[in-house]
């Protein structure tokens, strides 16, 4: 479908209609409130829908962590106001174990899928792909709209499950059976688990619709001159992310469907030899394998962490280069390492399963492949550091978050070398070391990538700036807070403290960290309140922020900055610009920046 047809083609595009409009580029359809803000097919509006839904989820998910951190930090205290919010789940002001596990589970599910996958990819793939490849919209704006509304439905289902009488899913975000399959083993595995499975199924549909659209748009709709090697790294990262999602999410769905069968149709895919003490009954299921689910889950689950981190890497590469006034170092190596990470993402899933009784030889293969990922990751880190070397750095809020991202990615990546090594994993598996590791490397890092993107592209999204002072406070408090929370947590993990414990005081080996837990909880609350300030800044600035006065406020090269300050549906009022060079000609031949649309001059040096 041609770029123009996308905007104007309703069902059954007829060519005459297309020709009729071709010279304008802007369209003249009458837009109502519904088509503009609700069932919008404009990628920029869909981006905002994803972003704001993601932010609502992030607040909810973050608030859940504040609640369970309260329990972890003050296991002996009671908070009567908790009973006001949670009712029977916090009887007497103390979070009940069922509620604690429900909070942990939903915190994980919400942040991994709804914020850092839907919210992050959904926002920036939608916003940047058409704008940076030079397209009027996605290949299929209609599917794109459906992608958001499936995401929305998934959100509704998961949100509803919070209010069920038996509580939401509470078997951890990985929901391993048999626990997740047996309502008698855990109250969260009753209706809550069905809601979780349905919510996730809808989410998978949303992710596939989005992903296929992103891939198609990047491959087919690049403007004239925009060869693949001239794409900004954001687009490369979003491209590999979409490929990962399309190939791995269906595997999760199949695993979940089998789980649904085990729950309701009496099958035994995951169940075998089970006696339930609470009902005093042995189940008839024999011959299933509980480990099968883990293979299916982690076949998605591991690529999933790259689905989260790759877009962040792309955003950071772009923002870092723009604000260093210097080309990103080793463009091809950056693309190559993204590619290597995307391939390896599919070959390492069993490193989550070293202690499940996996064949040790198979385990050793996964050790090798897992540690291999450190090579492309190291290349990326060194390239980022070289990008800022001898640059002329502008510490815009976006740039600060980009630097923060690299720092956190180093810290979290290095602890991955501990966990990927099966020998160490025996001791560290499922301890707080793992919690600290993945929160730094894919939780906080990905959030930093997301913030970096929001601060950098907010002027393009809304034609206004975010307030700088609040942005700086947001960055420094979050950055310092993230380290204060998760750095000492590694020591708890080294001491063997298992994760998903709501109270360590009954353990002789694990009760020595009471002070630390209180400290972590306090910092977590401070960091959470600063995120609320960011949300306030975001919405305040949409309406009252300082106005953007030039089309290219950051002096950047990519195509989105050639559009008007408030681009309409179709992005460019006239012709789509032609591209003549890569996206990173900063500081070349003594010029501060050269936009991609500028033809190569006769005397220009080659790189």
């Amino acid at each position: 479908m041609s770029n123009e047809a996308i905007l104007h083609g309703h069902a059954g595009v007829d060519t005459s209609h297309e020709v009729h409009h071709d010279e304008h580029g802007v369209h003249h359809h009458k837009e109502t409130f519904i088509t503009k803000y609700v069932f919008s097919q404009d990628h920029k509006m869909i981006c905002k829908q994803f972003l704001i839904t993601g932010m609502i989820w992030a607040i909810l998910g973050g608030f859940m962590s504040v609640l369970f951190r309260l329990q972890l930090g003050y296991p002996e205290s009671t908070f009567p106001w908790l009973e006001d919010i949670l009712g029977k789940w916090a009887k007497g002001g103390k979070i009940q174990p069922e509620a604690y596990y429900a909070l942990v589970t939903m915190h994980g599910t919400v942040l991994v899928f709804f914020v850092l996958t839907g919210g992050l990819s959904g926002t920036f793939a939608n916003f940047l792909i058409p704008l940076q490849v030079g397209a009027r919209d996605m290949a299929s704006p209609f599917l794109n709209m459906l992608s958001y509304w499936f995401f929305w439905m998934a959100s509704v289902v998961i949100l509803t499950s919070l209010f069920l009488e038996t509580g939401p899913a509470s078997g951890g975000w990985t929901s391993y059976p048999p626990l997740s399959a047996l309502g008698d083993a855990s109250s969260g595995s009753k209706a809550g688990m069905d809601f979780w499975i349905i919510g996730m199924a809808l989410f998978v549909v949303s992710s596939l619709l989005g992903g296929l659209n992103y891939i198609t748009t990047i491959l087919n709709m690049r403007t004239k001159g925009m060869s693949m090697t001239r794409l900004p790294l954001t687009i490369w990262a979003l491209f590999f992310t979409a490929v990962l999602g399309v190939l791995s999410f269906p595997v999760l769905l199949s695993g979940l469907i089998l789980l649904l069968f085990d729950r309701h149709a009496g099958t035994s895919f995951y169940l075998s030899d089970i006696f339930i003490a609470s009902t005093n009954q042995a189940l008839p299921n024999e011959g299933g394998s509980a480990i099968l689910f883990q293979h299916l889950f982690w076949f998605l689950g591991h690529p999933e962490v790259y689905i989260i981190i790759l877009p962040a890497m792309g955003l950071v590469s772009e923002v870092m280069s723009v604000n260093s006034r210097k080309p990103v170092f080793g463009y091809m190596a950056m693309v190559g390492s993204l590619f290597a990470i995307a391939i390896l993402a599919f070959l390492v899933w069993a490193h989550h399963m070293f202690v499940t009784g996996l064949n040790p030889f198979l385990g050793s293969v996964f050790v090798l492949l897992t540690l291999l990922i450190a090579v492309p990751s190291a290349i990326k880190v060194f390239n980022w550091i070289t990008t800022i070397w001898r640059g002329n750095l502008r510490f815009t809020p976006g740039m600060l978050f980009a630097i923060g991202f690299v720092s956190l990615f180093i810290s979290g990546g290095l602890t991955g070398i501990f966990l990927g090594n099966s020998t160490l994993d025996i001791h560290l598996h499922d301890t707080l070391f793992v919690v600290a590791h993945f929160h730094i490397v894919m939780g906080v890092s990905a959030f930093f990538g997301m913030f970096c993107g929001i601060y950098h592209w907010f002027p393009k999204m809304y034609g206004r700036y975010l307030n700088n002072t609040m942005s700086y406070i947001h960055f420094w408090v979050t950055f310092i807070g993230a380290y204060l929370i998760f750095w000492p947590m590694h020591y708890e993990g080294l001491a063997g403290l298992p994760r998903r414990y709501l109270d360590y005081s009954g353990w002789h080996s694990f009760n020595q960290f009471g002070d630390l837990n209180r400290f972590i909880s306090t910092v977590a609350m401070v960091v959470f309140s600063v995120q609320l300030m960011f949300v306030f800044n975001f919405f305040y600035s949409i309406f009252k922020g300082r106005r953007v006065t030039t089309t290219n406020p950051w002096g950047a090269n990519t195509l989105e900055w050639t559009t008007p300050i408030h681009p309409g549906h179709g992005n460019w009022p006239g012709e789509i610009p032609e591209v003549h060079r890569w996206a990173y000609d900063y500081g070349k031949d003594g010029r501060e920046f050269i936009q991609q649309t500028e033809p190569i001059g006769p005397n220009e040096s080659k790189h």
């Binding site: 009784g357 001898r390 502008r394």
Partner: protein, 358 residues
């Protein structure tokens, strides 16, 4: 009351921040965009170097504070290897950590915006990139090499003379079985499990090997310096036998037995003296989310000398003897189950059996 007070303070703090933020934006406009930008840039550049220095001090301080709290010497032979591996990894990753973090923040500080500086156009350098592909690759080869060496040793076959203990997890405690004098575990079948008749593991009594099996809860006894092989099972959901002092861990999966072996190095008494802690016990923690009681699924291991172990075993009654002693005419189901273990082929029969044992 204090909650409302706290919320008020928070709101007030927020309002003040917001007003300052708004005011500073106006001041920025008054000062001129360029000057304002340069000032902000200097502050943030300075904070970069402050963060680096404070961060490095913090890392050192945190280590001083907590290094004494992370368990101390490993209490098993495999644990020693894991600790060695930990130290090798710590040194290699530590070097990388310090170099990269220092470079990152130092560069950020050093190359902050200055009107005089021109950014250096440096798009790529194959030699540099080759260097930092090869060096990590070599470092990782070392780590993989050591890692797999230890891994194969730890997960390899247990010595032939290893003592065998069967560990079974259930919501939310642990059951241990010893094979008895014949050193053979009797047959069992999960449909036969009955907590009421004290057959927690579903042993089949018509297998003679099962009649001398010891079945105990909560506390496991092991012999110091004698390799132990654990055969790990679960009765309901997935659990995990976590032994942090021995540095060992293995999942308990229903329907799929797993194994692990190690040799305890110190008796519980020796550890108590060593740690100067008379209440010390080796604890078994459940390390895999298993339901609402997960955090309290505690077991204890007592490591004792060979003679103490023999004494303990002599005192314990086999499960079968216990069942026979308690047996009353009111529980004919037990007799049934002894007679009809073949019921397992017939699922209906099996369900019937469970119904009967209720």
């Amino acid at each position: 009351m204090s909650t409302i007070f706290l919320i008020l303070i928070l709101l007030l703090g927020f309002l003040i921040t917001f007003q300052i933020a708004k005011a500073s934006e106006y001041v920025g406009i008054l000062k001129g965009e360029k000057k304002n930008f340069e000032q902000n840039n200097r502050i943030n550049g300075f904070l970069m170097i402050v963060f680096l220095v404070m961060g490095l001090i913090g890392v050192y301080w945190c280590n001083e504070l907590y290094k004494g709290k992370i368990l101390g010497e490993a209490a098993s032979d495999h644990g020693e290897k894991i600790d060695t591996m930990l130290h090798i990894t710590l040194v290699i990753t530590g070097i990388v950590f310090f170099i990269t973090q220092i470079l990152l923040f130092w560069f950020a500080y050093k190359y902050q915006y200055s009107e005089k500086r021109k950014a250096y156009y440096f798009p790529h350098d194959n030699k540099l990139e080759l260097i930092w592909t090869v060096i990590p690759a070599i470092a990782l080869t070392v780590l993989v090499g050591f890692g797999l060496l230890y891994w194969f040793h730890i997960t390899g076959d247990a010595p032939k003379d290893a003592m065998q203990v069967e560990v079974t997890g259930k919501q939310f405690n642990w059951i241990f079985r010893y094979p008895g004098k014949d050193n053979i575990f009797g047959k069992k079948y999960y449909q036969n499990i009955s907590d009421k008749t004290d057959n927690q593991l579903g042993l089949l009594w018509d297998d003679p090997a099962s009649r001398d099996d010891l079945v105990v809860g909560t506390t496991m006894y092991l012999v110091v310096n004698k390799p132990v092989k654990m055969i790990i099972n679960s009765r309901d959901v997935i659990h995990d036998v976590g032994l942090s002092h021995f540095r060992m861990k293995m999942d308990a999966v229903p329907g799929t037995p797993t194994t692990m072996w190690f040799t305890p190095k110190f008796t519980t008494d020796e550890m108590r003296k060593k740690l100067n802690d008379p209440e010390f016990d080796y604890e078994i923690s459940c390390d895999q989310m298993c339901g609402k009681g997960h955090f309290s699924m505690r077991g204890v291991i007592k490591v004792v000398t060979q003679s103490e172990f023999i004494l303990w075993r002599a005192k314990e009654k086999p499960n079968y003897a216990r069942v026979m002693a308690n047996k009353e005419p009111a529980t004919p189901a037990q007799a049934d189950s002894v007679k009809t273990p073949t019921a397992k082929i017939n699922s209906e029969g099996a369900t019937g059996l469970v119904a009967a044992t209720k």
